[in-house]
């Protein structure tokens, strides 16, 4: 089983609709990152969450980390075709921090937004 489970694997929505992507672990997440990737390109940083209960927003994207620091969600409001791509959650699972930089990634969610 994956250390970081991401769901759904793919999502097709109509422009203007809201959507949520989830990222779940059985272990504590000491840093949770959300990235967006276009196929074959680099990762674009979206947000980083560290504290239990933390919530951050940027433009129409909101990310939350639950109080237990084992689950995060990414919510997009009023989706647009420009939101299409692969969304990846990545987590630092090292309590001691000595392996920081070793992000464990979920399998990704492929988002398609139809105009």
């Amino acid at each position: 089983s994956q250390e970081l489970e991401q769901s759904p694997q793919s999502l097709i929505v109509q422009e203007g609709k809201n959507l949520t992507i989830n990222c779940t672990s059985s272990k504590t997440l000491y840093g949770l990152y959300w990235y967006k990737q276009k196929y074959g390109e680099g990762l674009i940083f979206l947000m980083m969450l560290q504290k239990g209960g933390e919530e951050k927003s940027h433009e129409k994207i909101t990310a939350k980390l639950d109080e237990k620091k084992q689950q995060s969600s990414l919510h997009i409001t009023a989706s647009q075709p420009s939101h299409a791509g692969i969304y990846l959650c990545g987590a630092d699972m090292d309590a001691g921090g000595t392996s920081y930089g070793k992000l464990t990634f979920g399998q990704g969610t492929i988002l398609t937004v139809h105009p």
Binding site: Y33, G40, G42, L88, G97, K102
Partner: protein
């Protein structure tokens, strides 16, 4: 500016060739990373450099040889690669190798081994 620049964008090499991938950042970051991403898979860590010293090597085969000549540059030297090494190689950097520092990725270098 949160830019990590990687060259070349595409590289095709034979199994007996020697080539290098290059990565550069001018954000004053002291931690730099190499990740490998196979098609339709998530990225996996290969190496981490912290203050120009190798900090993490994820048991990567010796045909991949990293080098950090200064705090702004990171190279990945490639020699005697196998076709299964074909992948997207991503460079990343952060202010320090410490929790709480955002990790920024470059656009990647597509490597094809023939």
């Amino acid at each position: 500016d949160t830019e990590v620049t990687q060259t070349p964008k595409h590289l095709v090499m034979g199994m007996t060739n020697k080539k290098s991938l290059k990565c550069e950042q001018h954000m004053g970051h002291r931690a730099m990373y190499w990740y490998k991403q196979k098609a339709k898979k998530p990225p996996e860590l290969m190496f981490v450099y912290s203050y120009e010293k190798l900090s993490i090597n994820e048991s990567v085969p010796s045909r991949f040889s990293p080098e950090c000549p200064n705090s702004s540059l990171l190279n990945l030297h490639l020699h005697a690669l196998q076709p299964e090494d074909s992948a997207l190689y991503l460079c990343a950097s952060s202010l320090e190798q410490r929790s709480g520092n955002t990790i920024y990725f470059g656009e990647g270098s597509w490597l094809t081994v023939v």
